[in-house]
């Protein structure tokens, strides 16, 4: 059981991706949905680092840096949108935001 291979890391990444997808699809609170997106991006990062370690190529780790950058940008914009939404509509629930105009 104990030599940990790249397949182990890929399976862990798949489990994490599934948990993140469940969080995105089932929770009503937009904040938790955004946190679940972070989980999905982390699953991708685990895969990239595992392959980088397996192939002894540092490019995978560079791409993890780009993923983290995009995650930071996404979080900043999404939380800005959330603040504007809460100011206008007084809710943070995804299923109460059901109109396309004010």
């Amino acid at each position: 059981m104990y030599p940990v291979t790249t397949a182990h890391y890929m399976l862990l990444s798949a489990i994490l991706l599934t948990i993140g997808a469940v969080g995105v699809l089932t929770r009503r609170n937009i904040l938790v949905v955004l946190m679940s997106i972070e989980l999905i991006l982390n699953a991708v990062n685990i895969n990239l680092v595992a392959f980088s370690h397996y192939l002894q190529d540092v490019s995978g780790q560079v791409f993890v840096i780009f993923v983290i950058t995009v995650a930071a940008a996404e979080t900043a914009v999404a939380l800005g949108i959330l603040i504007a939404l809460f100011r206008n509509k007084e809710t943070v629930h995804a299923d109460e935001v059901d109109i396309l105009r004010w």
Partner: protein, 184 residues
């Protein structure tokens, strides 16, 4: 080798357990704390795979930056009312079934294909990396030579995101606010 395996399973349990707790907590602050736990586990996995620089970046940027941003925004949410409301969407069980099917599918492909992809132990490091020893040095070398253009584009993306976030969250009555001229 044995220590590596034990640590891998320890971090894996930490990550999966914290993630499941994160998506099921009613209180958003608890969810953020469990998210921090899962991110710490991921940083540990990075350390296990000799990516020390990324482990540091994970702790500083994700845990120190992004999660704190979440905690600030959580202050907006009226937690008392939140505790009385439904947590999950009404058709959430369909999503759970579909996601589990996806996991089963990926696992089947992984177990059937693990041998044909030769996903075994890590390859030995190539000989030409001998003069560059540390992980940070290798990452920096790749980032500023081969991936210089994506690096600059990432910095522009961050600048655009900062400006976008400021414009989005500007107060309604602020002078020159595009939000205030749109409604009313």
């Amino acid at each position: 080798m044995l220590l590596d395996s034990v640590l891998f399973y320890l971090f894996a349990i930490l990550i999966v357990g914290s993630s499941i707790l994160m998506i099921t907590r009613r209180n958003v602050v608890y969810a953020a704390v469990w998210l921090i736990n899962a991110l710490i586990g991921t940083a540990g996995l990075f350390l296990l795979q000799a990516a020390e620089f990324l482990a540091g970046v994970q702790v500083i940027v994700y845990i120190g930056g992004i999660t704190v941003l979440y905690l600030f925004v959580i202050m907006l949410v009226p937690l008392r009312e939140e505790m009385l409301q439904r947590r999950f969407a009404s058709q959430g069980w369909i999503a759970v079934i579909c996601s589990t099917l996806m996991l089963v599918l990926v696992s089947v492909f992984l177990f059937r294909g693990a041998d044909s992809f030769h996903l075994g132990q890590a390859a030995p490091p190539p000989a030409e990396l001998g003069q560059m020893t540390t992980n940070s040095e290798q990452v920096g070398q790749a980032l500023f030579s081969r991936y210089l253009l994506p690096f600059e584009m990432a910095s522009i993306l961050l600048l655009v995101a900062i400006i976008g976030a400021i414009v989005m969250s500007k107060a309604r009555g602020a002078p020159g606010s595009s939000i205030s001229s749109m409604d009313n």
